[in-house]
Amino acid sequence: MLAFLLTLMLLLGIVIVLAYAERKVAAFMQDRLGPTEAGPYGSLQSVLDVLKLLQKEDIVPAAADKKLFKLAPILIFAAVFAGFAVIPFTPELIPASIGIGVFYLLAIISLDVVGLLMAGWGSNNKYAMLGAMRSVAQIVSYEIPAGLAILSVVMICQSLDFQEISYQQGILLNRFPGLEFEKNWLFGIEALGINTTNIGGITTWNIFRAPLLLVAFVIYFIASLAESNRAPFDIPEAESELVAGFHVEYSGFRFAVLFLAEYSMMVLVSLVAVILFLGSWNTPLPNLTTLKFADWTTGTIGSLSGILWGGFWLLSKTFVLLFLQLQIRWTYPRLRVDQLMHLCWKVLTPVALGVVLLAGIWRLLMV
């Protein structure tokens, strides 16, 4: 229960910051000022937006399927929020430490699709229905390359446990029960003879430990943009052309929940990308001979310093990825629906399948 509340608070905080950052970053990239009036530099803007939404009337259309309509936002948010249960925030701190975290996450996130369809169908509005169908088609399609990219990580790490995958990517490798005698080699090639187990830092991140995973990371990142309906894959709710996608009929608190779910999804996919590819809560600074940067910036497990350093690195890496998501939104034009499907089925999926195959061979020969 405590983990639930803490995670919810953390998530709300991040989403508020993200919503403000989105507006400011968008403004700066387009040579505008963005919010300036509410609080210093407009920093209270997103708080006020939330307060405004909470005050609004909760409109349920007369023709709507009321049960589905009312339940959908909660289901969508619950599905995304449940994914946070297996995210390790620090070496010690994980809301639910279960051995099949990756599998659970992929499964629970897919429930999101049901909520989207409920919202679209329950609204009893053809535009909401079309928006929901587009969203669902997109999310279901892009789950395949994303899932394959994650699968290649799982094959190389030989674990479905997020915490174990995290431990493998840093100097604390041997502290994880069962990994006491594991070793990390530079680029994962033992023949090079450079043992990076105690060097840590960026050299033991998954994208360096197995350079093949860099490709998987790019695939996962593109697919995760599409999964969270972000530009350049935001056809279902193209803001400049459409009023909204599946959530046209929602207002007030229910809309706020949908909005929160959308931003939580962004945060979640970024967190997963960081954990699986970018070293999780491990520091990016390596130990260099006498300069023990990695030791200094890791802290001690079990003490406050370990928690603070772990949380700091995980969240700062996540924010870098979130910034990249925002920047991509304001850089690239939207893909047409056929281009979207072309990219998914004819480019990303075959490449991801190839990566999975190579990851298997890599695992057999290298590590």
């Binding site: 700066f28 040579d31 505008r32 000022l33 920047q327 991509i328 850089t331």
Partner: protein, 201 residues
């Protein structure tokens, strides 16, 4: 000149390069966000030479100064006005309404030395009708009617768009009218008396 066709770039690395250059472009704009465009007027040499930084001006707090010969809200300096009615006559949209009352004696002089002989109980300019042509300011003999740099004067009630420039209260105006009437009656009486005196001769 020979026409050169645009080379269509293809291939994986070209695409990656163009994607990265796009990201670089937005990143450059993001990095320049600490610079602001200075609110300089169009006459300034730097007006067209500010390619970097945010372009938005927070309008009520900062604004681009208007050119000196810009045509915005009218202002009449009633102390200098000789109530010649030229502005009302030339106005293409009839937005100036003037009523004049002859003074019984000389009222005074304007700042350029012209004598004032008329009161203006009504001198109204309807800025809602005004077309900002500036003709009234060119014909004004004493240069008392001018265009000011004020352009932000929207009103909720359209009646407030009528600007009253008279310096007389209605009572004072009535008094001046009475005075004029009295003087005219006296003059008429004197004239009649003179006429009668001539007839008797």
């Amino acid at each position: 000149m020979e026409k050169s066709s645009v080379q269509h770039k293809t291939g994986f690395w070209e695409v990656v390069k163009s994607l990265l250059s796009g990201l670089l472009l937005t990143w450059r704009h993001f990095r320049n966000a600490d610079k602001r465009r200075a609110p300089v007027p169009v006459m300034d040499d730097n007006y067209f030479k500010q390619p970097e930084g945010l372009v938005t001006l927070t309008y009520p707090y900062e604004a681009i100064p208007v050119p000196e010969n810009g045509r915005y809200r009218l202002h009449n300096e009633i102390d200098d006005c000789i109530v010649c009615d030229l502005c009302a006559k030339i106005c293409p949209v009839n937005c100036i309404t003037i009523e004049s009352v002859k003074a019984t004696e000389e009222i005074g002089v304007t700042s350029d030395g012209t004598k004032k002989r008329l009161y203006a109980p009504v001198f109204d300019i309807d800025m809602a009708k005004c077309c900002y042509c500036g003709l009234c300011t060119t014909v004004c003999p004493t240069d008392c009617l001018t265009m000011t740099p004020v352009y932000d004067f929207a009103e909720v009630d359209i009646k407030n768009m009528i600007y009253h420039f008279t310096d007389l209260t209605p009572e004072q105006a009535e008094e001046k009218k009475q005075l004029l009437q009295k003087q005219q009656e006296e003059m008429a009486a004197a004239k009649a008396a003179a006429l009668a005196a001539r007839k008797q001769q």
